[in-house]
Subunit: 447 residues, 2 copies
Amino acid sequence: MSQPTTASLQTSESSVAAIARRARIASRAIAKLSAEARNEALIAVAQAIEQSARKILDANERDCRAAEAEIAAGRMSSAMLARLRVTERGIAQMAAQVREVARLEDPLGRRLSATELDDGLVLYKESCPFGVVGVIFESRPDVVPQLASLALKSGNAVLLKGGVEAAHTNEALVSIWREGLRRFPAIPADSINLLQTRADVKEMLTLDRDVDLIIPRGSYALVQFIMEHSRIPVLGHSEGICHVYVDRAADLDKAIDIAYDAKVQYPAVCNAAETLLVHEAIAGKFLPRMVAKLKGANVEIRGDAKTLALFPKDGIVPATEEDWATEYSDLILSVKIVADLEEAIEHVNCYGSRHTDAIVTEDAEAARRFLDEVDAAGVFHNASTRFADGYRYGLGAEVGISTSKLHARGPMGLEGLTTYKYKLHGDGHTVGPYAKGEKKFKHRRLD
Amino acid sequence: MSQPTTASLQTSESSVAAIARRARIASRAIAKLSAEARNEALIAVAQAIEQSARKILDANERDCRAAEAEIAAGRMSSAMLARLRVTERGIAQMAAQVREVARLEDPLGRRLSATELDDGLVLYKESCPFGVVGVIFESRPDVVPQLASLALKSGNAVLLKGGVEAAHTNEALVSIWREGLRRFPAIPADSINLLQTRADVKEMLTLDRDVDLIIPRGSYALVQFIMEHSRIPVLGHSEGICHVYVDRAADLDKAIDIAYDAKVQYPAVCNAAETLLVHEAIAGKFLPRMVAKLKGANVEIRGDAKTLALFPKDGIVPATEEDWATEYSDLILSVKIVADLEEAIEHVNCYGSRHTDAIVTEDAEAARRFLDEVDAAGVFHNASTRFADGYRYGLGAEVGISTSKLHARGPMGLEGLTTYKYKLHGDGHTVGPYAKGEKKFKHRRLD
């Protein structure tokens, strides 16, 4: 397999506009492809990834060696190296994920509505690609084939910017992707592009003519930076300050399992719980068991005054006002005893980040009120906040998670990468006769 | 009917944050209302508007007198006064529009999807209100009841800022609205608010904690100003540079009617055509008839070189590069002769503003390509661009028009004022067993 010239993958600060321009042209080409053509290309790329395992592992080895030097110098955590490292099994999984995306339902050309406006005048609302999407992400290289496959499946061209630590691995993956597409002349190589530097990203954020959507995946600091500097619409998530509220009518066993899972199962992610709210009527029975279990997993508990009063000698740290607004992303949990459901809802709406919040209760009416009144992308009843995830939701794959209320909320799958257009079919229809009252609209729904 | 204290309607620069805070609280209250309760309130308000006709006319008279002074001083156009003036018939129409909104389908609580993730674990995606919406609009006072009714119908609280010219009329309308709501204790007066000054608007644009969405309705300059200064998501439209392309296979009678309607029927609006593209194979036959008809309506024609060659002595102005990118909003039309469909599509994608573009042709394949490949909110076949409008689309009422690709594209009705949340119902479900592979997701679509 011949190597693509590295020149075609390299970018300089002044050329991001040119890359975006070419991506725009490429996006028009891939938007025209049939679902079959897009899926066939995805399957070919999956194969190319498997066949190029050596190349990926070699490139990754270079990144990992550089990362080890950084760790030795105390400039990187070993957790980051673990995320960076690609194994043979990881490569097989990348290919499998691309094939899985090929199997998903076509997100394009879906008829969202159809209305007969008048005789011979029919309006269709149909899903279509955005065009060019820019994604900024941090160290994990398996994000490259994941995003590239979602973009191609949804008919979008993509500009990718990964972490510097993974530069060689990402470059290998993009070059293999382009290589895999070579036998599809209808799919331009420019449909996938890798940006190299932070300056490239800053330039991309100004290119609102040629880039339609920006998705930042990573830390809150990254998302904030992007939102502040972008002239292009941004979909991303703010902090994940998720709550579990244990109601007076909770089944305590379920409550312990759910709160433990939400905090301990993977504390570093945005859908992990940061605050546990407990109804005062059951606090005395519930909290001792809960705290014991959490302490067994080395969770630091920061309690409000009422909680502290329950555990006078138990080494619980007093929670400050700041704690309620903090995403720990760590084995720390703030705990507050509330007087009733209303206080719980109010606390969540005041301090939450509108990501995901759960109630544990056997009282259907309390659950209904919590789910209706809490203002968040995900509102859960008797289930862990950790379910807030595109794969778990059955979206097939996740482009990102949005805490915005515009367009996409919560985990975004392929649908998040589509917009729609209105197609109107007439037979010479003009507005004049309707404006004069000579003709009247029928507005008959056809769906 | 008692007068509300004007204090409750007045705002000062420092208090917009307080108004938004109270609107946030009000939004939580109205989000809980049943569809019946919201509709009943709308009908009561419609009646209040009719019963307060005198108050509205008096307030409007003050605004109109001030406007006449402005016109005399050459600081305002008489067209603006015409838009400002409210008549008894206009008041009856306002009330009728509010009743029409009451009759529309409930946009809240719609089930957008349902998925069984596993036994006893079911995920619903349901429409819900945004919360607090800010709308900035220019002179027409009938926008107040229109927006207020759409907001209440969709469970949103609203902050309105109208034009200074209509200050008294708008204040009367908001005070009547609040008055009409008085007998509904579940609907706080703070669900509708009027901002007074430009400084108020600037402050509102920073209140991203308490305002969820900004909709600017008015000139492109207004929209740009809002977009540049807002920390809150903005839905609005850029310029309306709409095209009519007359294909080689066009029915020339239809083409003449459509292009004439698109340009002449109401040239000041964003969905009027600015550029006519003509296939060279039919230009010689089509353009003389078209130009004669347009000239009969005093339309100034600006042609490219090929067009000019067709009309050597006809007083057609040469079009410059700038013309293709200009929204005239006036009786001016740029005309370009293109070699083929591809050139037409390319021209539209290059110079258009992604608002609405039309093809006139009897060739179904050419129509399909134009509708698929032109990147615009509305793509029309054998129909005038002037149909791009929420009322004509059958959306019931129009909140605004979006040329963004995020969330809402084209005319936005009630759906544009809703977002969604994911509701997950479990029975003590935790992620742990799925992460360990002990349990598997089913992901069965229930809809």
